[in-house]
């Protein structure tokens, strides 16, 4: 049982990062009905940006007091979010707005995003490096167990990821549902021309949506870098998974993305470690992706608009 619970914690850790990235996909989808394929590079640039900042203030093996750790965390999350937001805004200006002005076909957006994605990831590789195992400075003991009850352990880094992801998601949910910015985003998602008639500047709202999604992904980049590694191609696989998570929850639906991300993380970790399969050797770890995708397909066939339905406007 405690093994199972440990896996649940692991799944939630992964899931919360997927959820943070998935929110960016879902927000943009909500207002533009587009898959922002370059979102994974926003995540990547958040990791690089926060590394530059964090590495400037701390170094390997520095073990500051708890408030120091929190300070660095806030700094890392903040800088990651700032860089992510900046890159996402740049993406909107360069890869999306000109196409919107020209009334381009929908797939053209997808391809320009793919081009931007290649470009950003390779530019980061050229500027910084192309190693695939850069590490953040270990300024605190990531494997320190904060919770250890009856064999169930939660390490510090897991706690940090889950807690900060939850805080950010709560913040986002409140912002979208309670603030004027949120209502303008929902209005554009619901019906852009009408929203324009109601006095909403659509371009600004779209840009802000990109900025919010980019900030979340950038912060997720910092968390991912702290927990695992970072590199110029780190975005691709989490990006695809987060996209799947957003679809699973109902793309365009903010709470759906959160749920989808968490579920996907749990499925991924729990499936191959499921006790009786594990015992009989029916499903090895290499089948994780296959089973996860099969479940996704099944859910979509049964509920074609995802678990929670798809409209951003209706999520409120």
């Amino acid at each position: 049982m405690h093994e199972f619970l440990n896996y649940v914690v692991l799944g939630l850790t992964r899931g919360s990062m997927y959820a943070l990235i998935a929110l960016g996909y879902t927000l943009v989808y909500g207002v533009l009905q587009l898959i922002n394929f370059a979102h994974s590079e926003v995540f990547m640039s958040g990791a690089f940006g926060s590394y530059l900042v964090v590495n400037a203030v701390t170094h390997d093996g520095a073990h500051p007091a708890w408030y120091g750790v929190i300070g660095i965390l806030v700094l890392g999350l903040g800088s990651g979010a700032a860089v992510g937001a900046a890159v996402a805004y740049g993406l909107e200006r360069v890869a999306y707005r000109p196409l919107r002005r020209r009334g381009a076909p929908k797939l053209a957006f997808l391809i320009s995003a793919i081009g931007a994605s290649f470009f950003l990831s390779q530019l980061a590789g050229k500027l910084f490096n192309r190693l695939n195992n850069n590490d953040f400075p270990t300024y605190f003991n990531v494997n320190h167990h904060v919770v250890a009850v009856a064999g169930v352990t939660v390490s510090l880094v897991q706690a940090i990821i889950i807690v900060s992801a939850l805080v950010m998601m709560l913040f986002l949910d409140t912002m979208v549902n309670r603030t004027k910015l949120g209502s303008s985003i929902r209005a554009v998602a619901e019906d852009a021309p009408t929203a324009a008639l109601m006095g909403i500047d659509i371009d600004k709202t779209i840009a802000r949506t990109f900025i919010i999604g980019g900030a979340l992904a950038g912060a997720a980049g910092f968390l991912f870098g702290t927990a695992y590694f970072f590199s110029n191609t780190m975005g691709f696989i989490p990006g695809v998974k987060a996209f799947a998570a957003a679809v699973l929850g109902g793309i365009g639906n903010i709470r759906g993305a959160m749920l989808g991300g968490m579920l996907l993380g749990l499925i991924e970790v729990l499936l191959p470690t499921f006790p009786w399969w594990h015992a009989t050797g029916l499903i090895g770890i290499q089948w994780t992706d296959v089973v996860a995708f099969l479940i996704l397909v099944l859910i979509l066939v049964l509920r074609p608009t995802g678990l929670l339905g798809e409209k951003l406007g209706r999520a409120a």
């Binding site: 898959i35 076909p105 929908k106 957006f109 391809i111 530019l123 659509i202 996209f243 992706d289």
Partner: protein
Amino acid sequence: MSTYTDVTKGGGQSRRSDAAEARIALAKRFAGCMFLAFVLALMIGTQEGTQDDFGYAFRKSVFAPRIGIFALIGVAVFLAVTFWPRIVPYLSRAGVRPLAAGALTVVVSFTLLNWTDSTDLNNGKFGGLRPAAAQTGGIDPVARLFFGSAFSLTPWLLLLIVVALVAAAIRFEDSSTLGYVGGGLAIVFGIWAQYAQSAVRSFLDYPDHSTGAGVALLGFVTIGVSGIVVARSHGKADSGGFFQRVYDWRPGMPLVALGAVVGLVGLFSAAWFSPTDRNAGIGLTSTMFHGTGLSGFSAAYLAWLAYVLFFATLILAGAASYLRHHLLGWVAAGLGVVSLLVTLYVMHDFSGLAAQSKFDGATGAWDNLGTGGWMLCGALTVLAGAGYLVARHEQVEVPDAAPGVSSDAALAAGSKLGPALLVVIIASALFFPPTATQFWQTVLVTEIGIYVLLAIGLNVVVGWAGLLDLGFIAFYAIGSYTTAYLTGRLPVKPPSFLELTPLAAIPFAIVICLVAGVLLGAPTLRLRGDYLAIVTLGFGEIIRVVANNSTPVTNGSRGAFNIPPPEIHIGPLDIKWGDNVLGYWYLLLVFVVIVVLLFNRLEHSRLGRAWAAIREDEVAAQATGINTVRVKLLAFAIGASTSGVAGVYFASQIGSFTPENFILNNSILVVAYVVFGGMGSLPGAMAGAAVLTWLPEFLRDQVPAEDRQMWIGAVILLMMIFRPAGLIPARRRRAELGGLDKKDSSETTAVPAGEGM
């Protein structure tokens, strides 16, 4: 600037004055241009920081004097964009466009292209060759003069002179002499460039496949043409396009001119027989094979018949074009085809003879041939095509279009150039690959050709039916594995009566891919757009992972190997493909032609129109009685089976493959090719795939290898920003989108038009 006030700021914002708005817009534009310059500085910068010092490359690229150059570029872009409306009227003057195109072509030739195969001189580019050639005493002085023994930068100076002359002719409209002088000089310079390069080639004495001099010639000739256009037009606006005008004047004439240039270069400048140590032109080849037992006919051909045949065809085709004489056209076409066959026979004859005597490692006929023969073949094809076009051309009086229908007329006129272009494409598809280097032949066969086939298949799914398929490569994998299974190269063996050669596996691959397409499509096609995308993406990954992990069936990550090359034994026909890459090219060409012919019929069929209807509005399509699920399934299955055929070809050509050949990235790339080329347009999809697979190999010589993907990303991005409908937009779609240049108000375009994605 937006007229809507911003809700989040509470409304009461006062509007700025127009002058202030204009200033802000200008400042924003300037900032954008400087940012562009900054990014460019990073792109053309130092490689990679280190783990200790991440900022190394950044500092090297930005905090250095070189940033000043990029800042200047930024300012130049800013000025160009700002004053664009004032520049435009000049651009529509007669001759400006060909002048710009020609100058650009020459610059590309001088900077990017190879002028020699020798890799010692800066990869054989002009910049490396020029000083070396200028100082080498063994080269003909006239050629050395071109490379710059008088002035250090002679070739650039020549370009500058002719461009300045023609530009002056454009500026001072009343003088036609300037135009003629500039144009004539340009053509002379072009021939000089070609001559200088051939002098270098004969000095270096080894096989040469460089395109630099040819492209320079083309560029200079274009400049020359623009000069003549300027001189003849006396300031009349040249809006219709020069080639269109020539084509309207005498259809076939541009083809005749092209054929003449290529044929002359092939006959008088290029090598016909080039083993490793020499480049023998047609005359030298004739003497080399004199008295070696070459058949009398071939000897006569090399000695004089080649010239007679070529010039006879040229004169006939030219006369037919000029007189618009149908019968002469037929005669020219017939003579062209006969000469082509004769040329091929002679090439086979003497290269086979050389191979029989084991001359320089030749293993069979067609080895050690130079480029000259192939160029002559290409020229004869073009001339025959010109004759055919003249013969089939019907006199249609185009009435002067009323202002309202001008776009339709322009569209019809644009399509008239099609047949001529088709002739050129056929000629180069048949006879360009043999003149390319081994490297480019391999690229053609293993990259460009296969992806063109895949893009044609995906175009059905994405372009016509409007279904976003991100797992297309899965069917390709299925085709490859089917081939491996049927040729007995997988751990599971087929029953003995099913052991087949690769080509015989094609029907099976088609059927299996059809079934797989239907199996995947049936439950998922009722999903809309993006859900379909993620499901197909998942399917692609599933196929790959299954292939990777079911080792007892698919040999796991080691993949399949030793798949036999294709062979045909039907009646008298007995062809076996071996190590020669070129053979695969022609096989692939047959596949592509068959598929294109089939799909071309399909596009305008009932089914094709049903796809278009579904793509535009699924509900309306259903209401008109289209069985949407069945039609979508058909699109899916047809696309899948094309991919399967490509897979069969891939497996038997490459001989061994692993699941790593079928990664998700490849699926995404194929989608990018289709959209880049122009969604829903068959030539567009092919062009997109060809350009984007050619580009990385071309960039190999231009930028550091690691940076290639970055540049490709930038190219795709720019293409989508400036030409979102693709390289060659589909005609139907072009009609739908109306004017892409049309300025829409921001609210109608705030959200992209919903196309059934």
